[in-house]
């Protein structure tokens, strides 16, 4: 029987939600999983709300539709809570992970009565402190790995380091900051 995990990402064009979904697919792939990472495409430009998806499974995935009943939802920008029904179809035994400075209580009003687990992370703060720039997708990636447990944490850290070493071969100075952002997010998501 399949134990497929389905994740939906909400972000704004240009914020890196699509990249984060592809990175998550990458990490899961490297631990031997079958993965899908795909954005929902339209003609939208920077700033417009966008959706990206992940499917992760132990066996080959053939399904090629969007995800309507995700196990996890990741919200990269909490201003989206006003305009997007982020909990649509979200399984009650799943969870939502939100990048915000607000408390869970403040947030919960915007979740359309969702009764499952709610996690928050101040990804902006982590990003600013460890990278010097607001790139929330790296900390959010850490948070989703922590919450979903789709990849074992140590493996995740190891694989991400390799991936950063490859990606930032020409500017190794940023590897440390990215790794710090990841490990902080693993700890700070609550």
């Amino acid at each position: 029987m399949s134990n497929m995990v389905e994740i939906r990402w909400h972000g704004r064009g240009g914020q890196g939600a699509k990249t984060a979904a592809l990175l998550l697919a990458d990490v899961a792939f490297k631990t031997g999983k079958f993965v899908q990472g795909f954005p929902e495409y339209g003609p939208e430009r920077m700033g417009a709300p966008i959706t990206a998806y992940n499917r992760i499974d132990n066996k080959k995935i053939t399904i090629h539709s969007n995800i309507y009943e995700p196990d996890f939802v990741v919200v990269v920008d909490d201003t989206l809570l006003q305009s997007v029904n982020v909990t649509s179809g979200l399984k009650e035994d799943g969870a939502i992970i939100i990048n915000t400075t607000k408390s869970k209580e403040e947030i919960s009003n915007h979740l359309n009565g969702y009764e499952g687990c709610v996690y928050t992370l101040d990804a902006k703060k982590i990003s600013l402190e460890s990278l010097g720039k607001n790139f929330p997708n790296t900390p959010m990636l850490g948070a989703v790995v922590k919450v979903s447990e789709i990849v074992d944490e140590d493996t995740f850290i190891k694989e991400m380091e390799k991936s950063f070493q490859h990606k930032f071969a020409s500017k190794p100075e940023v590897i440390k900051g990215n790794m710090e952002a990841l490990s902080r997010s693993l700890k700070e998501v609550k």
Binding site: G37, Y41, K60, T62
Partner: protein, 393 residues
């Protein structure tokens, strides 16, 4: 050794192109196929391939340049979608009638208007009678495998026809999935060198291509062209067998999924076939004998073989992701139902038009279709043979 990787469908095609290292690639960007020439031009810029890349000023010129190049004796390729394919239309016919085995990666997208950038099959289905071999791909793996095989199929001396390898725009072209790549050397050996018998840049034999032909000759030309298509069937199977040897993956005219004992079945192409498989898995667990016939080779159309494969099914639903405006259904429906006509126990056949302009189709939608097929099997009257899935009434 297969190389385990995760790539988008567009990346998969550009990797295949890199491994093939064609002589000429001429292309013009159009969403969602744009990434293919983008990735490929980086390979050119980095000297990873020694292909001549021609960044033309339109798709019409892309196909024209491919015709000039292939005619000159060079293995040539391009990629396009939607309106780009439509702009090539005239040249598609000229490529095939000139018997030039050009390879085209078609990333399926709806045709305008209204303008829409998402997946449907209106583009390639419109080109179905242009004399191109058409192969459809469920996922990234198939897009890659089909593209490599396409070179061999088209260039076979008995065939000498251009080949279009289709996959769904965004759904597979931009979706990252697991796949197994072949080693560069394996691909190079598999495709070999392009060695046409006659070509323009043969110093020993100047030739003339692209004549005016009166009615005294035109029909013989067309009849001979059809023969190339007929021969293509055998070549497709031969090439698939050889490909299986290096890849371990089996290919044929179509794939039968849980079809052997199926009571009701769907016929589909491209990525939706995968979603149908997932639905079948669910429904089979519930004891429902549902099946799928996924067409891989649409041109030439393997009608007899399809008819045989569907002979024991009572109700068949044909899934068309394109409209013909004939008011009689979609192209897959026409071809399949026509193929079934001579079958003495032909199944009941209905048509579903779905997913136009990228409208998503989920396992839930497909489950409903199967349920309706069962109702028809149980005797429900079919009011309309062709219906629209998920359209707001």
């Amino acid at each position: 050794m297969p190389i385990r990787d995760r790539l988008s469908g567009n990346e998969a095609i550009s990797v295949a192109m890199r491994q093939i290292n064609p002589d000429v690639v001429a292309a013009f960007p159009i969403t969602p196929s744009t990434e293919i020439p983008q990735y490929f031009s980086k390979y050119v810029a980095d000297g990873v391939v020694d292909t001549e890349f021609v960044p033309v000023e339109s798709e019409h010129s892309a196909m024209s340049a491919c015709i000039g190049a292939q005619g000159a004796g060079a293995r040539s390729m391009t990629a396009t979608s939607s309106c780009g394919l439509a702009l090539m239309w005239e040249m598609l016919y000229i490529a095939s009638s000139s018997r030039l085995p050009i390879t085209l990666a078609c990333v399926n997208r709806a045709l305008s208007g209204p303008i829409n950038i998402n997946a449907d099959h209106g583009d390639s289905m419109g080109a179905r009678d242009s004399g191109w071999i058409q192969i459809y791909s469920e996922d990234n793996q198939e897009a890659y495998d089909n593209f490599i095989q396409a070179v061999r199929i088209g260039e076979d001396e008995r065939v000498m026809l251009p080949v279009m390898v289709c996959q769904d725009g965004f759904i597979t072209s931009h979706g990252v999935e697991n796949m197994d790549l072949l080693e560069d050397k394996e691909v190079k050996e598999f495709v070999g060198e392009y060695t046409p018998k006659h070509y323009l840049l043969n110093p020993q034999e100047p030739i003339a291509m692209g004549p005016y032909a009166t009615d005294k000759y035109y029909m013989e030309h067309k009849r001979q062209q059809v023969e190339g298509m007929k021969e293509a069937k055998e070549v497709v199977l031969k090439v698939a067998k050889e490909f299986e040897k290096i890849s371990g993956r089996k290919y044929g005219f179509f794939e039968e999924y849980m079809l052997e004992d199926a009571e009701v079945a769907l016929v589909a192409i491209n990525s939706t076939a995968g979603t149908i498989k997932a639905t079948i898995d669910e429904m089979r667990n519930e004891g429902k004998k549902v099946g799928l016939l996924k067409i891989r080779l649409f041109r030439p159309f393997p009608g007899e073989e399809i008819s045989k494969a569907l002979k024991d099914v009572s109700v068949v639903g044909i899934m068309d992701r394109s409209e013909t405006f004939s008011t009689q259904g979609g192209p897959l429906f026409f071809e399949t139902r026509s193929a079934l006509y001579d079958n003495p126990n032909r199944p009941k056949v209905v048509n579903y038009i779905y997913g136009l302009g990228g409208r998503d189709i989920s396992t839930k939608d497909i489950r409903k279709v199967y349920e309706e097929l069962y109702e028809i099997k149980m005797g429900k009257e079919v009011e309309e043979t062709c219906t629209y899935l998920g359209v707001r009434e």
